[in-house]
Amino acid sequence: MTETTPTTLPAQSPPADPAGTAKARLSWWRGDGGEGAKRNLGLLATLAVLVVIGVLTRPDLYGDASWVWGNTLTILKLASVVGVVTVGMTFVIIGGGIDLSVGAIVALAGVWCTTVATQSYGAGGMIFSALTVGLAVGVVNGLLISYGRLVPFIATLAMMVAARGLAAEISDKQTQVSNNQFINGIASTDVLGIPLLVYILAAVVLAGWVLLNRTTFGRTVAVGGNPEAARLAGINVRRHTLLLYALSGLCCGIAAIMLTAQATSAQAAMANLYELDAIAAAIIGGTLLSGGRGTIIGSLLGVVIFSTITNLFAINGLSTEAQNMVKGGIIVAAVLVQQVQFGSLTQFLARNRATTT
């Protein structure tokens, strides 16, 4: 091919100059998402405001440093399970889809890994079965959407109903108690004063960030905003769609183990409405519902903001109802802010294109 390339055009194989590689290595950690970083600063500011409200309403509690540390860990622990699910959800939404079945997958995986038969294989068997069930359900979702050409909303809505049904069938609508001390210990163990659940969340977030921002897989996820362009560039969009839902299912499997450990039991109704929490957190975190844009860190901040609000209401002894109203308001406010920032420009361009025929 080299001889057919114009001389003025650069060589097509990447050069092996050491200076460039060193520079490249430096740039490995420097993200490209300037917009994303700005949005995340906004989310941190929101978080700060929430903390200030906490300080103002309960100065007595915030005067105690050890209480503050403990409360921070409580918030993070509260965020951990939904956080893991949200990482998977973020991938799916950036890839141009949606996964309504995450709560149901968590329930199915939780119930499956706590049956008497599974528990007889010990902790390893339980973890393996939860991850496998989550992955398998995700693959089914992915197959229906990528090769069955179902709309993601419909496919995962059907899966949401079906997986909960299967979970109820398996558990016979009973609460299945986990007798495995290792599994139950996951929720009660602290390492260096920090709960193990928080480590798991951190690990999943880190893995998700690397996967999205530094791998070829992540690059193909990011073209979710324009799958047609990706397809015409020769990218196998279907296979990547399948992998996205498989990834979401795997995250649900991890979350199922965490949630089962917290409750020391599993039942068909567990992880109720997690799909909405995860979608809401991703949206607040700046993920565009139409795909193509979003960050893992933003989604994590979204989850933490939600659990901080829950915590704020709890320490002030307020009702969950009021809490939910505030959450709803925050979702609307977050989306409105984003539309002002980015929507105006893209709409302007779209309008121009529409009129110049």
Binding site: M1, E3, T4, T5, P6, T7, T8, L9, P10, Q12, S13, P14, P15, G20, T21, K23, A24, R25, L26, S27, W28, D32, R214, T215, T216, F217, G218, R219, A222, V223, G225, N226, E228, A229, A230, R231, L232, A233, G234, I235, N236, G292, R293, L345, T346, L349, N352, R353, T355, T356, T357
Partner: protein
């Protein structure tokens, strides 16, 4: 011909004087004159991009002219929106019929102005009036309650006309109405048009088929580059040569790079045999040699873009084969085509080729980022370096590859798409309307890039609705009409008029008595 000879003597209902309409970067209308009389069929003729669509939209109240006068039934008029134009009595039947598929015939006919009482739609009354209008159109057999979805294309067109009549339209604009119709249905359309004009309704008729214009038209106005180049020519007696001449002979001369002197023939790169997709194109065979630029001329709807996308595997062929370097490609697989060395710059740059919010370098490396990666980990630094070299080679402006692609001009966006394939092992470049939305200066640069690529052995298959572009850039030209290749010749053996004649010849009317 049955059209009354004195129709032209009707009063002037519409008069446009020096109408100008600009969009950012484009002067779509640049001094349009138009005079339409009651009871006449006034034909608008012009190449793609001549401004016909914009003119229709000005008349329909979609766009407001920047300057110039619009006189409607003797008074200056300005339509604030499509509803206002409708109320004034101007109805437009767009090429893509704007009917609601899941509403009934009657509901579509009276959409937006349903006869009602106290907020309730008078369904019986609506149905009755629809039936009357359909009878007036000679189609009493269409049931007003039938869903539009279940009607054939010709029936849908009747419903569009019924909608126009439900508004008591004095002027009906028809944008290529025959494009969706079969042969015998065109005769019926003409019969209806004659009945409408006999009732004093004026019709603006747009078509690329000269034979149709001769049969149904009274007078012709020709547009070119947004200007009226000839007004009120007699539709039946003006020689075809004259009409075509008024449509061409552009004011802007494009600069095309010189063709190389006779080069030794290079090996064949692409061979397409009997490629067919029903309803789009049939039995197309062509070849492209290494270093050769092959151009396809044809109108929108001639099947040229569909053909290109099928060769590329973005659409699956129903018959025929595509071979690259002697190896047959799997139909319907873009991956296989790219692996075999094809790359495409699709027609709709923004929706089909670019990730507008992503930085330039990510768009440039979209097809190749895998080869800058190690063990599945991408390397943004090396990608940026490669994209930067490509940006320098193509003289991309701005040079900073971290800027989002949406901030670039059309010409530079196209360079990004071309650069994407140059980074890969692309041996054959498929270009679909490469200069759409690209200004004149940038066009010359793009032509230069394409010619330079060919000189280095890359094969190019080029589709364009601009005939001068195909003739000026390509070595060999294929003319397509209604899904078939009707002529193949070296570009030097063809001129613009010949190609336009071929492109627009009304195969529908072939064999009909002249």
């Amino acid at each position: 011909m049955s059209a009354p000879a004195d129709a032209v003597a009707g009063e002037v209902v519409l008069r446009l004087t020096d109408v100008v309409k600009t969009f950012p970067g484009v002067r779509a209308l640049d001094g349009v004159q138009l005079e339409v009389r009651a009871g006449e069929v006034h034909c608008l003729l012009g190449q793609n991009g001549a401004g016909k669509s914009t003119l229709i939209k000005v008349l329909a109240g979609v766009h407001r002219p920047d300057s110039g006068e619009l006189e409607w039934r003797g008074r200056p008029a300005a339509f604030a929106n499509p509803q206002a134009a409708m109320r004034a009595g101007i109805a437009t039947i767009y090429q893509e019929l704007d009917l609601v598929e899941d509403l009934s015939v009657a509901e579509n006919a009276f959409l937006g102005h349903e006869p009602g009482r106290l907020g309730f739609v008078r369904r019986g009354h609506t149905a009755r009036r629809t039936r009357q209008i359909l009878a007036r159109l000679g189609h009493p057999e269409i049931p007003p309650g039938r869903l539009v979805r279940h009607l054939p294309a010709a029936g849908k067109q009747i419903v569009s006309m019924a909608r126009a009549l439900s508004h008591e339209a004095r002027l009906i604009i028809m944008d290529e109405p025959s494009a969706v119709l079969a042969h015998d249905e065109v005769g019926n359309l003409f019969r209806i048009i004659r009945e409408l004009t006999a009732q004093g309704i004026a019709v603006i008729y747009i078509s690329h088929r000269l034979e149709e214009i001769r049969e149904i038209g009274d007078r012709v106005t020709v547009l070119k580059d947004g200007r009226t180049t000839a007004a009120n020519l007699p539709a039946r007696d003006t020689p075809t040569r004259d009409l075509v001449a008024r449509m061409t002979g552009r004011t802007i001369e494009y600069v095309f790079p010189d063709r190389p002197a006779d080069a030794p023939p290079r090996p064949e790169l692409l061979r397409v045999d009997g490629l067919t997709r029903h309803g789009e194109f049939a039995d197309v065979s062509l070849t492209v040699r290494a270093g050769e630029i092959v151009g396809i001329a044809g109108l929108v709807g001639s099947g040229r873009s569909e053909l290109l996308e099928t060769i590329y595997g973005a659409r699956r062929s129903q018959a025929g084969t595509v071979r690259m370097g002697g190896r047959t490609l799997r139909p319907g697989s873009v991956g296989a085509a790219v692996k075999a060395g094809m790359g495409m710059a699709p027609e709709e740059r923004k929706s089909q080729a670019l990730l507008l919010g992503e930085p330039i370098y990510r768009n440039v490396t979209l097809a190749t980022f895998g080869r800058y990666a190690r063990l599945g980990f991408t390397d943004a630094g090396r990608e940026r370096a490669a994209a930067g070299r490509m940006a320098a080679a193509l003289d991309l402006r701005p040079r900073d590859v971290r800027r989002p692609v949406r901030t670039l001009s059309g010409g530079n966006q196209q360079k990004v798409v071309v650069g994407r394939w140059l980074l890969g092992d692309t041996r054959l470049l498929l270009l679909d309307e490469p200069t759409r939305g690209v200004d004149v200066g940038a066009r010359a640069e793009l032509y230069q890039v394409v010619r330079e690529l060919a000189a280095r052995g890359v094969g190019v298959l080029l589709v364009s609705s601009e005939v001068p572009e195909v003739l000026g850039l390509a070595d060999r030209v294929l003319v397509m009409r209604e899904g078939r290749v009707v002529r193949e010749a070296p570009a030097g053996d063809l001129d613009e008029n010949t190609v336009l004649d071929l492109v627009m010849a009304g195969s529908l009317m072939e064999g009909a008595p002249a």
